[in-house]
Amino acid sequence: MSHPDYEQFSHDHAALLVLVRHIDSTGQIRNIFIRYIKDHPVENNDWGDFQTHRRLLGLISLAKYDSQQELNEICRVHESLKVKYTNTLFDSRAILFLSLGTHDSPTKISNSGDFNVESKGDKEEIPEDQTNIDFEKQNDALDKFVPPSNFKTRAFFYKDTDPCSDLETHLNEFINSLFWVLESKRLERSREKLERVSLLLAPFEKKDFVGLDMESRNNKKRCTGRMTKHLGDLCLQAGLLTESLTYYTNAVETLKSVNDWLWLGAAFEGLCAASALVLYPNIQRNVSLHRNSSLQEGSPKRSNSVSVSSLDTINKKDVTNCLSPEDILKRYREAIIHYSKYQNAGIIETEASFKAARISVEQNHSLQAATFLQNVVFINLTLSEQEKIQRFETLSDLYTQIGFIRKASFCQRLAATRYVSPQNPTPNWSQCYNLMLQSFPGHKLSLDPTEMCNSNLQIGWPSLQIQLLQELVVAAKRMGHSALATRHMTFLLQTMWNHLSNTDQKELSLQLQSLASQCEGAPVPLVLDNGIVIPPANLINVPVCIGFTLKNLQPHLQPRKIQASKQDSGPFLFTPINFGSLERKNNKPQSKMDFLWIENDLCEVSLKLLNPLPFELKVSNMRLLTSGIVFESIPETVILPSDTPTPLTLNGTPKESGELEILGYSTHTLGVKSNCRLRYMRSFMPQYTIEVIPALPTMEVKTSLPQSATFSTFQNFENVVTSASLSLYNGESTECTITLTNTGNVPIEMLEISIQSVLEPALQDQIFKWSKENIESQLPLMPNASASLTLYLYSAANFLASGFGLSDLMSGVFTSSHPSSIMSMSAGPSSLPSRLNSPIHSTMGGSFHARRNDLNSSFRSTNSGQSSMTTQGCRSPGALALPHHATTSIVEGQLQLRYSGGPGLEAGYCRTCSVFLTLEMIPSLQVTNWDVLPAETSSQFYLVLDIANLTSQEMELYYTSSKHMLIEGHESCRVPVPVDRCPLSKLTKLYMDQNSGVDDRLDLDKICSEHIASLVDLRWHLLSTETTGKATLKGIILTPNMLDIVRMSPLQWDVTVNGDLVKPQEPINCDAGDCLQTHIKVSNCLERPLRQLTMTIQFYQDYQNGVCSYKLETRLATAGATKVSLPTLEPQGKAQHVCNVVFFTPGLYKIDIQCSAPENFATNIVSNTTGHVWKFIPAVEINVK
C-alpha cells in the first residue's frame, strides 16, 4: 500500500468501504458506518487482511447517457471496475441518468463518454425541480435504451430531470445486501476453528514467512492472534462493538506474547477505534463542502440521528474491555511505536498518527495532538509531491483545529512552497498563492491594511511577515494576476514600511513601480475567484504627509456675520478668573474648524509632503478626499525631491453649502492610485470638518489715487485690498473716486461703508465724507458691473497754535510786561482800533501787497504805548517763532466696505474689505496768537490774528470777503477780522440760570468760540501750486475779558449829549466852557435782573501814543455823580443818569462809560477785577475847541 489516506479517523476501522457515499442502518442494534470515497487505488485492498476497513466492499457507478452506444460503453466500464476490485467487492449498483439533451450541451454528453465510473462531484447533479416535460414521453425515452444483455449489475435508470424518489430505498437495499454479505463472512470466520486458521499477512510480510515452520507453537499463536484481531475488525464493521472489543483484547494478549509487533499495533489501534466509537460516537468528518443537491437530504442526516439515538442506549460503563480516554491515547502511542518498527508500515503509522491526533482533538488534548502530528513529520516516506502537499495541508488543518494557528500557517506555507518547488513536475502557482493567503492569520497578518495600521501594537513578526508578503507577491505575479501582485506589494509597503530597511524600501518601491507598469493599482477591492475579497491598499508612506492644514480664506474674502452676536461676558467687563481653565480645556487640535468656507469659492488645504525614497518621486493627480457636501477638487501634480519636505496646496471648490468633511487626499505615484486617509495616519485628526456657507459676492476695489508705498500696522490691517495716499495742505479738500466692481457671480445687494481711524469721530467725519445715498442708489450691483463712490477728503487741522492755552492767556503771556490786564488795556482809551484801522486801510488800500513787515512795524509803533497786543519776543518779526509742532502729520484711515448679496446675505453673512487711506496733512497756516479788540460799532469787534504761513510758498490769504493779503513762506503777519459780536440770543440760556458757576463760564467760552469759528472764514491760496484751502478757528480759546467784548452787552446803552444821540465815529464838537449834559439810559436786555451794578463815567485824554491821561481835574468839571450804584436792574428795566460836564480848555476828550458787576451776581462781595464790565462802545469823543 503506497497511498496514504490522511483523512482517516479511527472510526473508519468500523466502516465498510464503498466507493460512493451512502449510508445504511440495520435493525435496532447494529450501527453500520458507510464510508463513501471517490477514489480507491486497488493496491490499498492489499492491506484488507491487516485492517478490514481498507477493503472496498461496494461499488456504485453514476453515469449519464443519451444513446444506446453510450449506455453500452458505461456498462462495459462498470463491469471492468467490478473486475478490478473483484477480490473484495461484495456488490455493486449502477445509477444511470438519461440525458434528454434538452438543456445539456453536447460537450457534456461527450464528457460522460470517458467518464470514470467512480463518482465525481459534477456527476451528481440531479436536478431537484420537477420539470414540465411530459412524463409519458420520458418513460418512452427510458425504454428506448436497453443495457447490453451481459450487464449483470442492478441498474437504476433515471431521467436527468427525475426527482429520483426511490433512489434512497434502492441504496438502502444495496447497503443491506452489503451488510448481509459482511455478516455472513463474519459468521463464517467466527465459526472457523482458531487453531486451524491460516496466517493472515500484511502485504510486505509475505516473503518473511516463506519456509517457516507454521506449525510451531509461536506461529500457531501468531495465527490465532491475527485471526482474533481480524474477527475484531469484522465485528466492528458489522456493528458489534462489544464483541469487537473482546476480540481485540484477546488479540492483544496473544500477539504480545509472540512479539508480533505490527499486528499488536493493529490490535491496539482496533481496540482504540472500538473504544472511541463507544465514547465518542459523534466524531464526524465535517462534510459539507461537496455535498450537493438531493442525495444528502435524507440519508446522511438520518444516519446521524440513528447513530446518536441508538448509541445513547448503550451504557458506556457497561461495555467491557472499553478503554478509558487516557488509555486510548496511550494505546495509540504504543501502536504507533510498534508500527514505527517496520519501515514498510510507514503509511500505516502516518495514518495512525493522524487518527490519534483527531481523537486528541476530540478529547481537547492539544499538546497530545501536537506530539502525534509532530511525529508525522519524522516518518520517512517516499511520497509524490502531491501527497506531500496533502500531508502538509492535513497537518495544517489539524493544527488549526487545536488552535496552533502559527504551526498551521507554517505547514500551509510549506505546502505552498511544495506546489512550486523545482521537484514538482506540475507547479501550481495559484494553489501556492491560495495557501499563502490562508497562512495569513498565523502570521498575524490581515488582508485589510487598515486593521494592520490601526493596531498600535506591533504584534506579528515583521521579518516573517515581510518574507511571506514578498513570496505572495511572487506567487501572484507567477499566477499571472498582476493586479494582485501590485496590490500585495502596495500592502507590503503600506503596512511594513517602518520595518523595512532603507534599501528594502527603495527596492520594493522600484519593484512596485515595475509591477504597476503591468497593471496599475487602484484603491478598489479585488475579488478572487474563490470569493476572497482583497481590500484596497494605499501608499500612505510614499510620500509621507507631515503636515495637513485647512486654510482660512484670505481676510478680505472671509465671511463675517452681518450682525455680530453679542457676547455675554457676564456682569464684569473683565475678570481675572479664567473659567476655561477649570474646564481643563485641552489644547488638542480641533477637528472642527473655527472658520468658514464659502460655496463656489476656491478653498485651500496646505500639505507638507516628504519623499522618503532616494530618488525623485512624481506624484500626480493629487486631490482631496471629502464627504458631506459636493466638493470639486482640483488635481495637482508635484515632483518631490528626495528627503526634502515639500509644501503643496490642494485646491477645491465646495459646490453646496453645509458641512464638509475632509478625509484625506488621493495620490497616484509609482503607478498606484491611493486614497490616503488621515484616519490611518499617525498624528492627524481622523478628519477635519468645516462649515461651508452659501455663496457670497466678491468685489474688486480700485481708487483713483496712487497706492501708498507703505502702511503702518493698523488694526484689521489684513482686510486691506488696496490703498490710496494723498498729501493735502491743512484746510485743503479733494475728492477720491473709488470704483467697486462685482467680480463674483452673485449680485451685491448690501453695501455698508464706514471709516475707521484712531481719530476722534468728530474730526474723522470732517476729514472723510461720502454720500451714502449715492452709493445705495447704485445697488444692487450685478455681476461684472461697477459702481463708483466718491470720497471727499478734507485736511482738517487745528489752525490755532495749541501752545497757547487758556492758562497762558490768563497768566498774561501777552501782558506780562504790563501791570494792566487785557481788560484794562481794552478798558483804557486804547487807540488800537483806530490805529489798526488806519494803517491797514491805508496800506491795503494803497498797496495791495502790503508787506507784513510794514504792518508789523505799524504795530510796533504802538508797542511803546499801553497796548500790550505786541509783547516782545514772540512778536519779533525776523525771528518769528513758528510753532515747533507744526510739522507734517499723517492720518491713516481705513474705508471699510461690508458687502453681501444672494444666498449668503440670507444666511446673514457678508464680506469685508477695506481701502487703506494715507493722508499726509501738510501745515498751511497757523494762527499763532489772537486777541479781540472792540470795534468802532457796538455790534462788532475786531479779532486780531497773528497768522503764520507755514508753507515755503507765497500765500494769499483772504480773511474777509473783500480783504486779502500775501504772506511770504515761513513768515507771519497780523490781520484784524471784523466779527459780529455774539448775540445775546445765543447766550440766554446761560443768563437764565441763576446758579451759574464755573461750568457756565466754560459753556460761555464754547458758545463764543463757536460763534467766532462760524463767522471767521480764512481762505488761503498758494500761488505756486494753485491750491486753495480754508482754515477755521474752531476751538479758539478766549479769556473772560475777551468774552465781554465778544458777546453783545446785556445792557443797552442810550447816551445823549445835549439831547443829541451819540454816534460812533462822530466826535462831538463844543467850545470850552460849554456845559454838556450827558444823559445815559441803560436798559437790561437779559431776562433776569442784574444786581450790584456800578455805572461809572470817566473822562480822559488819549495821547494817541498808548498813554491816556485821566488827571483832568484842571481841565474839566463835572456836575452830578460820575459813579452811580444800581442795586438791581430788572429785566427790561431801565435806569438813567444824567451828569453835566464843562471843559475848561480845548482839546480832545473822551468819555468812557461803563457798567461793572461782580462776576457772581448773587453775592454782595464785589470784585471788580474779576467781575464783568460792560462799556459803552466806542468811547464818546468830544472835541473841545
Partner: protein, 139 residues
C-alpha cells in the same frame, strides 16, 4: 551551546532575536514563531491545573530533526525561547535551565534601564554581547 535565543513579548511580538548564524535567522524565526503555539497551550493548561506558578521553565516545546526548542515564561508573560542543535546530545536539562535563568537576569537588568520603554524592541549592544556569551556558554 544554543543556536538561537529569542525574547517574545506578552502579545507574542518579537522583542529580541539573536542567532549564531545570521543566514539561518529567517528559518529559526519560523521555528520560534511556531513554538509559541505550544507555549500558549502550555500556559493555558498550566493555569487551569493551577500548577506551581513559580516554575517558569516550560521544558522542551518540541523537537525537530535538527533542533530542539525550549521555552521559559516569566510571570509577566515574557517568553524566552532557546533553540539548541539536536546533534548536541551532551547538553543537559539543567544547563538549559541555567541558560534561561541567566537570560532572565540580564533581561531584568535591561528593562531596569529608565530609558527603556516597555514593549519596545531590545536594541542594545551590551545586551547582545551578553546574550551571545550565554549562547556560546561563556557566561
Amino acid at each position: 551551546m544554543a543556536v538561537c535565543v529569542s525574547i517574545i513579548g506578552k502579545d507574542n511580538s518579537p522583542k529580541y532575536f539573536s542567532c549564531l548564524n545570521p543566514y539561518d535567522e529567517l528559518n529559526l524565526q519560523y521555528k520560534v514563531l511556531s513554538s509559541l503555539d505550544v507555549v500558549e497551550e502550555k500556559l493555558n493548561s498550566g493555569s487551569k491545573s493551577g500548577s506551581d506558578i513559580r516554575e517558569l521553565y516550560l521544558g522542551m516545546l518540541y523537537s525537530l530533526e535538527t533542533h530542539k526548542i525550549y521555552g521559559y515564561v516569566t510571570n509577566t508573560k515574557i517568553k524566552f525561547v532557546i533553540i539548541v542543535d539536536s546533534t548536541n546530545t551532551a547538553i543537559r536539562d539543567n544547563e538549559i535551565r541555567s541558560m534561561f535563568r541567566k537570560l532572565h537576569s540580564i533581561y531584568a537588568d535591561y528593562v531596569c534601564n529608565p530609558f527603556h520603554i516597555p514593549g519596545d524592541q531590545i536594541t542594545s549592544k551590551p545586551f547582545d554581547e551578553r546574550v551571545k556569551n550565554i549562547m556560546t556558554g561563556n557566561a
